[in-house]
Symmetry: C2
Subunit: 318 residues, 2 copies
């Protein structure tokens, strides 16, 4: 259920790269014993504010949501709590977890590592993960939710282009020889650029070591298991919960600040200024009314899977 919800939420928000295209691989991984769909992982407090989580090969969302619940409770007494998660599977979009925390009035920060997919700024070789970062801060309205990979684009989006046979913009990626490419299939074998040149590279580099340090997980060049159906997943996740208490006046002040930003003068009069998360939210509302599109190939694949995996899917749903 939780796994399915995270995938569908990504589709609703217009992030198909983190959506249902990942389902066939997840099911194959379950089939092969690389994912145990029945565990929530095993955790212990290494110190009063540091939760050590062994995911026991569980589904990424199931393990992470369990950790979120434990962290939220602890942060309410300690002020801050951090979880280092290893031996768990792909989380899908990080926004989902921090938004959960923020909806309970708690600041959430989430990090995750991945296979080596990104080249250093000024480099040509995939040596860093896409190292996404999500932050959610409560306001009196909906929380501010920010979720970004430190690559200029996610590898999921490049897969999506490859699946649709469409080209990628120049500047996104290099091929396996280190040359600039616009071919999505070649980019999948090569490397993605960091976003924001040297600064985005620096941020991604710091998050790479931060996750490995806190989660005790592998560094990008050794990571396997988020893009394949062959290896145990050895990336790491970090969740941080900060409870600053509910202060209605402060939260209202945040909301009116965000509105002031939305109402500020845009560079292009036809494109109003938005606050991060606005786009995903309006896509979600539209999709809840009108539905969302997935490719014909994926639909056929999912239908076939739903027949062959009926028993298994029932098992997960319990």
């Amino acid at each position: 259920m939780q796994q399915a919800e995270v995938l569908v939420e990504a589709e609703l928000r217009g992030h198909p790269s983190h959506g249902l295209q990942r389902l066939p691989r997840i099911l194959t991984r379950i089939d092969k014993g690389l994912i145990d769909p029945r565990t929530r992982g095993k955790s212990h407090w290494r110190t009063p504010s540091f939760l050590d989580v062994d995911g026991l090969r569980g589904l990424g969302p199931v393990v992470a949501l369990q950790a979120c619940a434990i962290l939220a409770e602890r942060a309410s007494s300690t002020g801050v709590a951090v979880a280092g998660i290893r031996n768990s599977n792909h989380l899908g979009m990080l926004a989902y977890y921090v938004e959960r925390l923020a909806n309970e009035g708690i600041i959430g920060i989430a990090l995750s590592s991945s296979e080596a997919l990104v080249h250093p700024y000024g480099g040509t070789t995939a040596l860093l993960g896409t190292n996404p970062l999500a932050i959610a801060v409560p306001t009196s309205d909906r929380p501010l939710v920010v979720d970004l990979a430190t690559s200029v684009v996610s590898m999921g989006k490049i897969h999506h282009h490859a699946a649709n046979g469409s080209a990628i913009p120049e500047g996104w990626a290099r091929d396996s020889d280190g040359g600039v490419t616009t071919n999505a299939a070649n980019a999948m074998k090569g490397s993605i650029a960091p976003f924001g040149d040297a600064k985005g590279y620096a941020l991604g580099m710091a998050l790479e070591l931060l996750v490995a340090s806190i989660a005790g997980s592998s560094l990008a060049p050794e990571v396997r298991g988020t893009l394949d159906a062959d290896a145990v997943c050895n990336k790491g996740d970090v969740l941080i919960a900060v409870d600053v208490g509910r202060q209605p006046q402060v939260l209202a002040c945040f909301s009116s600040y965000l509105d002031r930003i939305r109402q500020s003068r845009p560079a292009d009069p036809m494109r109003p200024v938005t606050v991060p998360g606005d786009g995903a939210r309006s896509r979600r509302e539209r999709a809840l009314n009108d539905g969302f599109e997935i490719s014909g190939n994926l639909w056929d694949e999912l239908k076939a899977l739903s027949r062959s995996n009926e028993a298994l899917v029932k098992g997960i749903a319990q």
Copy 2:
């Protein structure tokens, strides 16, 4: 002493925007009672891992270094500790603080807010702070230290260009009418672009609310006192310390990973790949041998100040 060290360190590392050009303003602020050079601030543990710091108008570095020492000790027993600092003055470069923590084997994260200097992505009006972020992670060698403003450039650097009468590159800033400008003086009255387009904007936005939330400080449009000598400083700082314990094998693994990145094939054969912090470190080593340059104007100003402030400077040094 600590204040002077932070300014000189910035000069040594080639960041004059955070260097001695700030000293005259600091001295004026002390003169006017906007900075109290003798306090380290007052702090209490709001919860076991959350340190609430009232800087009592102290010098930014003095208050923050005190908080770092308290956090480091607490993190060693709780695993993680966070400090929210308000009513303190400009910190200078954030790298300094997280590097201190990392030299003691502790992961350091530092955030700080500022006056509204940055326009939203797609916007024209200064509504966000430059919202810098620094992260340091221990390795078996020197720690990895990353320090970046979420603006494409710091306002300090624009001031530096204005002081030298040099133009700024297009894309850095807009003037007070929202138009693109390459004039540093006009940019100072206008707004700076976020780095990395929508992603850098999203990150800056999240850090803006994160700091205000944790430090209980003002949002950018209301912040005063880091660029003027007229107002009490009401920006906020956040310090996070995470102690994961010393694991020599892991730290050695981080060091060899960073070396592998340095040795990887560059896009331009003449420009080897670097790890964030390498440039600052080699500039520092060079400056320690050869000295560093400051503008003639600034030198004259500093000499005049050293005469008129001799008694005051002695007071700070104690």
